[in-house]
């Protein structure tokens, strides 16, 4: 009997130690707040070759610094292999948190997973990964609803008829499809609105210009171009300007970038969907700070509403946000 009791006691103690050890590991990231390695925040951005993402990254960095962290920006150049290298370096350097703008909703999952396994939380900003249990939280533009509004305005401006072109962003990015599907959930209900071409221009200004030039050779009679972001809208406008067609083709963008906001004010671009990169970046940095201080109960996905910006309401907006928020 005493031997059995001894075995039971030893096993219980063993289980207790194991349980305690696991709990310690779970709480790890919040404990070493004062150590130097835990005061650094990495900001990983999909590309810095687009001013909108530069604003996203710079704002995240600035807010993290205001909160007392040392912050470094990493540019993934829209390349998941580069993004993976950044994560390896961030893990090796022992950063406290990652403010993460993913390059690809599926391919970026592995990077968030390895950071989590290393005890470094990732906070997705603007773009999501297709997972709801790996990132600490994901603050995302509500692209679908934004493009429903944009689609309704498009229908109104086109008087429910005409030929149009759609330029898509990066095909692996959920934002591309959320925008396209939101737009089509409205526009496809009007049979006299005909999409004569739908092509990918990878959210890139130069590619958009080249793609639209090529499309216009086969389809000279278009009335509008719907672009999945503002960089492509500016590229499309350049192609139309070169072809002398700016007066008869309406351009619609999505983002709220400076050059498009200026162009709406000047009457060159018809409308865009205002995302709020500054707001999302600030929220990400603040959530990372809260996490480091011990908070854990974040909603997994937080959609941030997109607002329709047109020539009628442009006075309320400035680049990357509302006039009242500046």
């Amino acid at each position: 009997m005493s031997r059995k009791f001894l075995i039971f006691t030893v096993m219980s103690l063993g289980l207790l130690v194991l349980g305690f050890g696991c709990k310690q590991k779970e709480q790890g990231p919040g404990k070493d707040e004062d150590s130097q390695s835990k005061r650094r925040i990495a900001v990983v951005i999909s590309t810095l070759n687009n001013p909108w993402f530069v604003v996203l990254g710079d704002t995240a960095k600035a807010r993290a610094e205001e909160l007392g962290y040392e912050a470094t920006i990493f540019d993934s150049q829209n390349d998941t292999a580069k993004e993976s290298d950044h994560f390896d370096n961030i893990i090796a350097a022992g950063y406290a948190a990652i403010l993460f703008n993913p390059t690809d909703a599926d391919a970026s999952i592995a990077n968030v997973k390895k950071a989590k396994e290393a005890g470094i939380p990732a906070f997705c900003i603007d773009r999501e990964i297709n997972s709801n249990d790996l990132a600490a939280t994901q603050v995302l533009s509500d692209n679908y609803a934004g493009c429903v509004d944009l689609g309704q305005y498009f229908v109104k401006k086109m008087n429910q008829k005409g030929n149009y072109v759609e330029l898509l962003g990066i095909l692996g990015d959920n934002n591309t499809w959320n925008r396209s599907k939101g737009f089509h959930s409205v526009v496809d209900n009007y049979p006299d609105l005909k999409m004569v071409a739908q092509q990918c221009a990878e959210f890139d200004r130069t590619k958009a210009m080249e793609v639209l030039e090529s499309i216009m050779q086969a389809n000279p009679d278009i009335n509008a171009v719907f672009c999945g972001n503002d960089a492509m809208a500016m590229g499309a406008y350049q192609a139309l300007a070169a072809a002398g067609k700016t007066h008869k083709v309406m351009v619609f963008g999505f983002d709220g970038a400076k050059d498009v906001i200026d162009s709406i004010r000047d009457g060159r671009i018809v409308a865009t969907g205002m995302q709020f990169p500054k707001r999302m970046a600030q929220m990400g940095a603040e959530q990372a700070d809260e996490y480091i201080k011990g908070k854990r109960d974040f909603p997994q996905k937080v959609p941030v509403a997109v607002e329709l910006v047109t020539q009628e309401n442009i006075a309320k907006y400035t680049a990357y946000g509302r006039e009242s928020e500046q």
């Binding site: 709801n132 609803a145 941030v304 509403a305």
Partner: protein, 214 residues
């Protein structure tokens, strides 16, 4: 005494076996889990429409109270009744009301819900499609965080809208709505927090969930 022991032991064994073979789970939780595991937006929306939406209609606020709050205290309207899945200046509201049909056109049914019934207060959408996510968001039944990607969340909203067109809007002409007739409705609306300041509240647009004509 021996028999008592025997029966007690048998009962204990029976209770033990039953307790090991039967377990109870919240039906709502199980249904939610099954819907997510085998995701099909149309089925998800259909199940929600039939089995869960009716119970939240009890929470619908009277449209007269809502219009009054929109115009006098938007903050209170948002706090008491507004719903949004994330961060937004636009909130969704589940509402109910009764009024007189003042006109019927392509835009929908214009209805007066206040006395004197001369000007329309709401327009009940009866077009061939419903844009947006008013019903999905006003119901408060779907948490975006439960989905691995937000497209699924959006597809559900779109499928709910298709059900509304199929089951609520298309059968409406058979009920023969007439100008001057009375209509009772449950529905949802989305209103921006600064709508009153920008004079966007002349007509509250209602996406119908249930319509009854008298």
């Amino acid at each position: 005494m021996k028999k008592v022991c025997k029966y007690s032991l048998s009962a204990a064994i029976l209770v033990f076996v039953l307790s090991q073979s039967v377990y109870f789970e919240d039906l709502k939780v199980v249904r939610e889990q099954r819907r997510r595991e085998a995701f099909n937006a149309a089925e998800y929306a259909g199940d929600l429409w039939l089995n869960e939406l009716p119970s939240v209609l009890d929470e619908a606020v009277d449209v007269k109270e809502l219009i009054e709050l929109f115009n006098t205290n938007m903050g209170q309207a948002i706090e008491r009744y507004g719903k949004t899945p994330g961060v937004s200046r636009v909130y969704a509201y589940l509402l109910k009301g009764e009024g007189t049909i003042l006109s019927i056109d392509r835009d929908g049914l214009k209805v007066s819900v206040k006395e004197p019934q001369t000007n329309p207060d709401v327009v009940i959408e009866t077009g061939s499609y419903i844009p947006g996510n008013a019903v999905r968001d006003a119901s408060g039944l779907i948490d975006v965080s439960k989905f691995s990607d937000t497209m699924k969340f959006n597809e559900i909203g779109s499928e709910i809208n298709k059900i509304i067109v199929r089951d609520v809007i298309r059968p409406l002409p058979d009920k023969k709505p007439t100008v001057g007739g009375t209509i009772k409705f449950f529905g949802a609306t989305q209103v921006a927090q600064d709508a009153a300041e920008e004079n966007l509240l002349q007509l509250v647009r209602v996406v119908p969930i249930r319509l009854e004509l008298e």
